[in-house]
């Protein structure tokens, strides 16, 4: 028996639980434009402050200010806005289709669209992406056909993953988008490996990878940080701090002790902490890290300070572990609203054009979805050939798998050859 010594163990707890009033007045949010932009080759030892402040460009007055302002053209900002809106409308549609049984599972990225879309825009197409499961905006920004994304999620006859993966675990080799695992953090050091190969081959392409703040607890995070730092790999290591890892708030991952960007300091790596709901700031820090990597300056860790505005997935109900109205209380706003308001502020967008864009995107998503369903859904219509489940286990199918398929055929006569 262990004697009761009273409450000695520190178990972090979020500030509010269901039924309580969500408040974020404890957050230190500097005004936009107040964090300077360092030289891209600055020594990490001098960069402590950047890992602990919050880089912001879009102010509460909807103006873009400060040294980090990337001075994007209005056309580029409109593309970013359009892609974020597409991501959200696509997500909503797919989640609804999951609810009616067309697919088994779905994960939305609501509130985090700027991270994926702005970063995809700031990187080159040749740069390799090793995402987690909440960066579908990368695909949309890089121009993947929504139809192909839907075909995958529906596990239908045109799913390029051949029905083998859970929905949202995309693969898109042509778009330099790595196969998403489903196991957390495994891609973090793999991205570093890709970057190391790029450096070995004398190429200019870099690798970017994304994990959530919860996943910084994994050994994979440490592996990625160490290997990237040791080999000065041309890699951008992103930590999307969306405050929640299913039911665990960021304090369970150690976020109350130090910022996630500051993890870089111990590895000798610059860390940048950015307002993840500020499209322009995310774009700017990514450009900084990419320029540093291409100049031989090595890796950067970026903490995107954002908020997961919806459930973790279709498998959990967030009102069971956080206040129902916490998303609305998030003090850094919504990434789409903020970029939209900025474009309106500079007379490059309007409420009318915004509504027209919503209509246009909704019509596109509806049409694409209708076509995708014609190729089958998880539970009805066409799907990949059953024989394909025995393929790609190895490059060449071994005899024992050929025989196992024959056994299956003999049990299900209408399976065909």
């Amino acid at each position: 028996m262990v004697p009761d010594r009273g409450k000695k163990l520190n178990v972090p707890a979020p500030r509010h639980r269901p039924g309580e009033k969500p408040e974020f007045d404890n957050l230190d949010i500097p005004d936009a434009g107040t964090v300077p932009r360092p030289d891209v080759m600055m020594d990490p030892k001098e960069m402590f402050t950047y890992a602990n402040r919050l880089i912001r460009v879009l102010g509460r007055d909807n103006k873009a200010v400060g040294e980090w302002n990337p001075a994007l053209s209005a056309a580029d900002m409109r593309k970013g806005l359009y892609d974020m809106m597409t991501t959200r409308i696509y997500d909503d549609r797919m989640q609804n289709m999951q609810r009616v049984g067309k697919m088994s599972f779905y994960i939305k990225s609501r509130g985090e669209e700027a991270v994926a879309v702005a970063q995809a825009m700031a990187l080159d197409k040749k740069d390799m992406l090793f995402p987690s499961y909440r960066q579908q905006g990368l695909l949309i920004s890089r121009g993947r056909d929504l139809l192909d994304m839907m075909n995958h999620c529906l596990s239908n006859s045109k799913d390029n993953c051949k029905g083998r993966q859970l929905p949202v675990m995309y693969t898109w080799a042509a778009g330099n988008f790595f196969s998403i695992s489903g196991n957390l953090g495994t891609q973090f050091c793999q991205a570093v490996g890709w970057a190391v190969a790029s450096a070995l081959k004398g190429e200019d392409a870099l690798a970017a990878t994304w994990i959530g703040e919860g996943t910084t607890a994994t050994a994979d995070f440490h592996h990625g940080m160490t290997f990237a730092a040791v080999y000065n790999a041309p890699a951008i290591l992103n930590v999307v701090n969306n405050q929640w890892a299913i039911s665990s708030f960021q304090g369970i991952a150690g976020g109350e002790k130090a910022s996630f960007a500051s993890r870089g300091i111990g590895y000798g790596m610059p860390g940048l902490r950015v307002d993840g709901n500020d499209f322009l700031a995310v774009y700017a820090v990514t450009k900084w890290a990419a320029e540093r990597a291409r100049n031989g300056g090595g890796p950067t860790i970026i903490e995107h300070f954002t908020y997961r505005a919806d459930a973790h997935s279709t498998s959990d109900d967030p009102t069971k572990y956080r206040p129902e109205h916490e998303p609305e209380a998030w003090p850094l706003g919504d990434p789409i609203d903020r970029l939209k308001s900025h474009l309106i502020e500079i007379d490059e967008w309007s409420e009318v054009r915004h509504l027209e864009a919503i209509e246009e995107i909704t019509a596109l998503v509806t049409a694409k979805y209708k076509e995708a369903e014609s190729y089958g859904t998880l539970n009805s219509g066409d799907r990949p050939e059953v024989s394909s489940m025995f393929e790609d286990v190895f490059k060449e199918q071994p005899e024992h798998l050929r025989r196992q398929y024959q056994s299956l055929q003999s049990l299900i006569p209408d399976l065909g050859a």
Binding site: V11, A13, R164, G182, A245, S247, S248
Partner: protein, 337 residues
């Protein structure tokens, strides 16, 4: 007694042990306030406080290492690995550390840890939420491996596991959490309510580790199985027209070979069934031991029914899952040979 599903039975076992032994602590990802993604620890943090039931960072290797350290220091940790598909980051801590600590220290150090983890498919979980990795751990000396097939056994075995002074991996077939599953996804879901093994004592009791159980008696053929496949095998046995005996192993290591051999030596025919992939699966070990014990009594070669040797394919779950037709086919072949 109370009607419980497997989730409630597992919850109740932990509740009983938290009450009984102040050295018992429960931790894992999302197990605290949220009560676990399958609700197996629901209400326990509220009842016993955050000092006894708490959330961990997402790091399975860290969870098991923490448990070992706490176990060495007098605690009795019950950990949850959210899905057995996520257990691999803890592989080194389980295989090289927890399972060998007593041996390498000449008995000076040991850690009485329990590792609960949901396993198996049938829930459209794809290749990262459907695996049955028990065979990887049964190959390791020094760790006990359990897989219960019903609420009554789950509670009794989990209490035994928590009280056991050796490390135990406790696999929970998640397809059985809410009811028995007979292998046909087209049939309406069953609940544990009307099942005799859904009647579970509310207090303390144990089910012995290392003891198999005959769930159906028969004279023609013995099916040796565990987990979800117990129910699939029972359904196939009913349909087969033969007098089939079904043995639920309940504990994989240490294996109750005497119980199995007594049955197979009597029936002379055997089929071994598991959901995990076939090659190198635990069925191969069972089959070898039966051959060693019963060779001269066997009337026919022993057959295995198992998952195909491929990752669990999301859209082809029911082509992958070794359902009734595959068990029936094996019964027929063994009976007719």
């Amino acid at each position: 007694m109370a009607g419980m599903n497997m989730i409630q039975a597992i919850n109740s076992a932990q509740d009983v042990m938290l009450q009984k032994d102040s050295a018992v602590v429960i931790f894992g990802e999302d197990v605290g306030y949220f009560g676990g993604v399958f609700n197996c620890t629901e209400g326990l943090q509220e009842k016993y406080g955050v000092q006894r039931v708490f959330d961990t960072p997402i790091a399975e290797g860290g969870i098991i290492a923490l448990a070992i350290g706490m176990g060495v220091n007098g605690m009795r940790p019950v950990t949850e690995i959210q899905f057995s598909d996520y257990i691999y980051p803890a592989f080194d801590q389980i295989v090289s550390e927890a399972s060998r600590l007593r041996y390498r220290s000449g008995g000076d150090f040991w850690a009485p840890i329990t590792i609960r983890t949901p396993c198996g498919g049938g829930i459209r979980g794809g290749q990262t939420h459907s695996q049955s990795p028990e065979g990887i751990f049964t190959h390791v000396s020094g760790i006990k491996t359990i897989m219960a097939s019903n609420p009554y056994d789950a509670k009794g075995l989990l209490i035994s596991a928590i009280e056991d002074d050796d490390p135990v991996i406790f696999f929970e077939p998640k397809r059985l959490y809410n009811g028995p599953f007979y292998g046909d996804p087209e049939q309406p879901s069953q609940s544990w309510e009307s099942h005799e093994k859904g009647e579970v004592p509310e207090g303390y009791y144990t089910t012995p580790i290392g003891k198999a159980f005959t769930v159906r008696s028969g004279a023609d053929l013995t099916i040796v199985t565990y987990g979800t496949m117990v129910h699939v095998s029972l359904a196939a046995a009913e349909l087969s027209g033969y007098d089939v005996e079904v043995i639920d192993l309940r504990t994989l290591t240490p294996l109750d070979i005497d119980h199995i051999a007594t049955s197979v030596c009597r029936t002379g025919r055997c089929v071994v069934v598991h959901e995990a992939t076939k090659t190198g699966g635990f069925g191969a070990e069972v089959l070898s031991q039966i051959q060693e014990e019963c060779f001269w009594k066997l009337e026919a070669p022993i057959k295995r029914v198992a998952g195909w040797d491929i990752p669990y394919p999301h859209a082809f779950e029911w082509e992958y899952f070794p359902g009734q037709s595959r068990v029936l086919d094996a019964i027929k072949i063994v009976m007719e040979s």
